[in-house]
C-alpha cells in the first residue's frame, strides 16, 4: 500500500472514531459533566429575598457542616453501613461458600432463590417488606413481639430490606470469584486433612479477598446514597423516618419540600465528592489486590 493511501485510511479511521464516540461524549457532557458543574455553581450561591441570587462562597457548605439534622443523617448512614455491610457480606459469603461446596440440584435452586430479589425494583421490595412488618397485614409481629417501624427499630428493618435485596447479588459475585480459584489448591488442602469448614475459612476465603473488598466498596457506596427505602417507608412512621433521615432524603426534601435548591445542591455535591474521592482512594489502595483496573 502506498504511503498516501495509508494516510488517507488513517484519516478516515480518525473521523470514524470520533463519529462513533460522539453520541456517548455528548451524553457524558450533558448528563454528567454539566450537572456536576451546575451543582458546584449553585452550591456557591444563595437566593435571598432582597438581592436575588448572590455569591455566597462556601456559606452553604459551612451551613451543612454545622447543621445538626444533616450531621445526624450522615452519622446514621455511617452507623447503618458499619452494621449492615458486614452482616450482608457475611451472609453472601456463607451462601457463596455453600453453593461452591455443594453440587446438588438443590444448590442450583438455592442460587436462583437468593439472586431473584435483586431483579425486583427497590420500590416494590420495600413495599412488600412494609406489608410484612405491619402488624395488620404481616406475619412477623405475631412471631416476635416487636414494633418493626418504631424509631428505635426502623433502621434495622431498613437494613433487613437492603440485605434481602442485595445479598444474592453479592453472593453471585463472590461465587464467580470462588470458581476462578484453581481446584488444585483445594485438593492439596484436603490431602493435608483439612475439613470442609476449615478449607472454606482458611483457604477459600483468603483466596477471594479481592472480590470481598470489591463488593464491600460497592455496598458502602450504595449505603452512603441510601434514599429509596426510607422514602417509601416514610408514610408508615413519619416521626421515625424524618425528612432528614439520610443525606439524600434531606437533599430531596430541601429541594422539593422547601425549594432550597442552593442548599440542596451543596448537600448533593458534598455527598458526591465524598463517595467519589472515597471510592478512588479505596480502589487505589487496594489496586494490587482488587481486580477492577
Amino acid at each position: 500500500m502506498t504511503n498516501l493511501a495509508r494516510r488517507a485510511r488513517v484519516g478516515r479511521q480518525a473521523v470514524a472514531g470520533w463519529l462513533f464516540v460522539a453520541p456517548f461524549t455528548v451524553l457524558l457532557v450533558f448528563f454528567l459533566l454539566l450537572p456536576m458543574l451546575y451543582a458546584a455553581k449553585l452550591s456557591l450561591y444563595r437566593s435571598t429575598l432582597v438581592e436575588g441570587e448572590v455569591f455566597a462562597w462556601l456559606d452553604n457548605y459551612r451551613q451543612a457542616l454545622g447543621d445538626p439534622e444533616f450531621r445526624r443523617g450522615v452519622v446514621r448512614v455511617l452507623v447503618f453501613g458499619a452494621v449492615q455491610t458486614p452482616v450482608m457480606i457475611g451472609i453472601a459469603l456463607v451462601a457463596a461458600l455453600l453453593i461452591d461446596a455443594a453440587t446438588s440440584r438443590f444448590s442450583r435452586v438455592f442460587r436462583l432463590a437468593a439472586f431473584v430479589p435483586y431483579a425486583v425494583p427497590v420500590v416494590i421490595g420495600t413495599l412488600m417488606w412494609g406489608f410484612l412488618y405491619s402488624p395488620n397485614t404481616g406475619p412477623l409481629s405475631s412471631v416476635i413481639d416487636v414494633d418493626f417501624l418504631s424509631s428505635g427499630t426502623v433502621l434495622y428493618s431498613l437494613g433487613n430490606i437492603v440485605t434481602w435485596q442485595w445479598a444474592g447479588y453479592n453472593m453471585i459475585v463472590l461465587y464467580a470469584a470462588l470458581q476462578g480459584v484453581p481446584r488444585e489448591v483445594y485438593e492439596s488442602a484436603r490431602m493435608d486433612g483439612a475439613g470442609a469448614v476449615q478449607t472454606a475459612l482458611r483457604i477459600k476465603t483468603p483466596m477471594i479477598s479481592a472480590a470481598i473488598v470489591l463488593v464491600t466498596i460497592f455496598t458502602i457506596i450504595g449505603t452512603l446514597q441510601f434514599f429509596t427505602e426510607p422514602l417509601i417507608l416514610q408514610p408508615l412512621n413519619p416521626g421515625a423516618i424524618t425528612n432528614s433521615y439520610t443525606p439524600n432524603v434531606y437533599a430531596y426534601h430541601q429541594a422539593f419540600s422547601y425549594q432550597q435548591y442552593n442548599y440542596s445542591a451543596a448537600i448533593s455535591f458534598l455527598l458526591g465528592v465524598v463517595v467519589f474521592v472515597g471510592s478512588y482512594i479505596f480502589l487505589f489502595v487496594t489496586r494490587k489486590r482488587s481486580a477492577l483496573r
Binding site: 478516515r12 480518525a14 470514524a16 472514531g17 470520533w18 462513533f20 464516540v21 453520541p23 456517548f24 451524553l27 457524558l28 448528563f31 459533566l33 450537572p35 456536576m36 451462601a95 455453600l98 453453593i99 455443594a102 446438588s104 438443590f106 438455592f110 436462583l112 432463590a113 437468593a114 439472586f115 431473584v116 430479589p117 431483579a119 425486583v120 425494583p121 420500590v123 421490595g125 413495599l127 406489608f131 410484612l132 397485614t137 404481616g138 453471585i172 459475585v173 464467580a176 481446584r183 475439613g195 470442609a196 469448614v197 452512603l224 446514597q225 434514599f227 429509596t228 422514602l231 408514610p235 437533599a251 429541594a255 422539593f256 448533593s268 455527598l271 458526591g272 463517595v275 467519589f276 478512588y280
Partner: protein, 286 residues
C-alpha cells in the same frame, strides 16, 4: 469435577442452612402471591401467609386496571417505553463507543477514555437534582425525554463493551473487511457487532432492568400522573393509602399492582439467567 461426598452430617447441615436462607429470600414473594388473592378485608383479617377462603385475584386484577381511570395500564406502558427506548438506545451508543475505544485509532482517544474511567464512580443519585434543575431550564421536565435522555448514558456499559470488544473482535477480520472496501460503519456492523453479541445482550438487559426499576430520576423529573412509571405510580398509591387521605384504602390494589409489576422481571430473570450472571462477572472480575 465431581468431588467425593463428605460426611453426611456436613451435607445435611449445609443443606439445612441453604433451606433456611432460601425461605428468607422467598418469603416476601410467597406473601405477595397469597396476598394478591385476597380482598382488602382478607388482607387485614386472615392469616398473612395462607389463603383466605375467597379467591379474589381476578377481582383484584380488574380493580387494578380500572382504578383511577385505568392509570395503572398507562404506568405499565410508560415503564415499558422508558426501559425499551433507554435500553436499546444506551446499548447502541455504548456499543459504538466501546468498539471505537477498543479498535479504532483517533486523536484524543486515550484522553477521552481516561475521562470516562475517572467519571465512572460519580454517584448517580448526586446527579439527579442538578440534572433536574438543568432540564427545567431547558423546559424538558415533565416530558418522557426527562427520563429517557439521562438513562441513555451508561459509562459502565461502555467500559464493559470496550473490554469485551478488545478481547473478542479479531483485528485480522477487521483488516480483511477494510481491504474488501467496506467503510468503517459497515466493518462495525458486519464484523464487530456479531462478535460482541453476548456482551450486548448483557448490557441491554441490565440497562432495561435498571430503567424499569429506576425511582429517584422519574420521581424528581415527573409531576404528571400520566407519565409516571410503575415505581413512582405505586409509591403515590401507597403513600395516599397509608396516610389515609384518598378515601377507602386500596391496599389490595397496591398488592396486585406490585405483583403485575414484577412478573415481567421474574420471567426475564429466569429465561436470561446466563446473561445476568455474565454481566456481574465480565466487568467486575476478570
Amino acid at each position: 469435577m465431581s468431588r467425593p461426598a463428605r460426611t453426611t452430617g456436613g451435607r445435611i447441615a449445609s443443606h439445612a442452612v441453604m433451606a433456611l436462607m432460601a425461605a428468607y429470600f422467598l418469603l416476601p414473594f410467597w406473601w405477595l402471591l397469597v396476598a394478591s388473592t385476597k380482598d382488602n378485608d382478607g388482607l387485614f383479617g386472615s392469616a398473612p401467609l395462607w389463603f383466605s377462603g375467597d379467591f379474589k385475584l381476578f377481582d383484584n386484577l380488574s380493580l387494578l386496571f380500572s382504578h383511577d381511570g385505568g392509570v395503572y395500564l398507562k404506568w405499565l406502558r410508560n415503564s415499558a417505553l422508558y426501559s425499551v427506548v433507554s435500553g436499546v438506545g444506551a446499548t447502541a451508543i455504548a456499543a459504538l463507543a466501546g468498539y471505537a475505544f477498543a479498535k479504532l485509532r483517533f486523536p484524543g482517544r486515550n484522553m477521552l477514555f481516561a475521562a470516562l474511567l475517572g467519571l465512572i464512580m460519580v454517584p448517580a443519585t448526586a446527579l439527579v437534582l442538578p440534572t433536574y434543575l438543568l432540564m427545567s431550564e431547558a423546559g424538558l421536565t415533565d416530558t418522557v425525554w426527562a427520563v429517557i435522555l439521562p438513562s441513555l448514558l451508561n459509562p459502565f456499559g461502555v467500559y464493559l463493551l470496550r473490554v469485551y470488544a478488545h478481547d473478542s473482535v479479531p483485528d485480522e477480520m477487521l483488516e480483511a473487511a477494510r481491504i474488501d472496501g467496506a467503510d468503517e460503519f459497515r466493518v462495525f456492523r458486519s464484523v464487530a457487532l456479531p462478535a460482541m453479541r453476548p456482551a450486548l445482550v448483557t448490557v441491554l438487559l441490565f440497562t432495561m432492568v435498571a430503567t424499569w426499576n429506576n425511582f429517584f430520576l422519574p420521581l424528581v423529573m415527573l409531576s404528571d400522573n400520566d407519565l409516571f412509571p410503575l415505581t413512582v405510580g405505586l409509591r403515590t398509591w401507597y403513600q395516599s393509602a397509608t396516610l389515609g387521605n384518598a378515601g377507602p384504602a386500596l391496599f389490595n390494589v397496591i398488592v396486585v399492582g406490585a405483583l403485575v409489576a414484577i412478573v415481567p422481571l421474574i420471567v426475564a430473570f429466569l429465561l436470561l439467567q446466563r446473561y445476568w450472571r455474565g454481566g456481574l462477572t465480565i466487568g467486575a472480575l476478570k
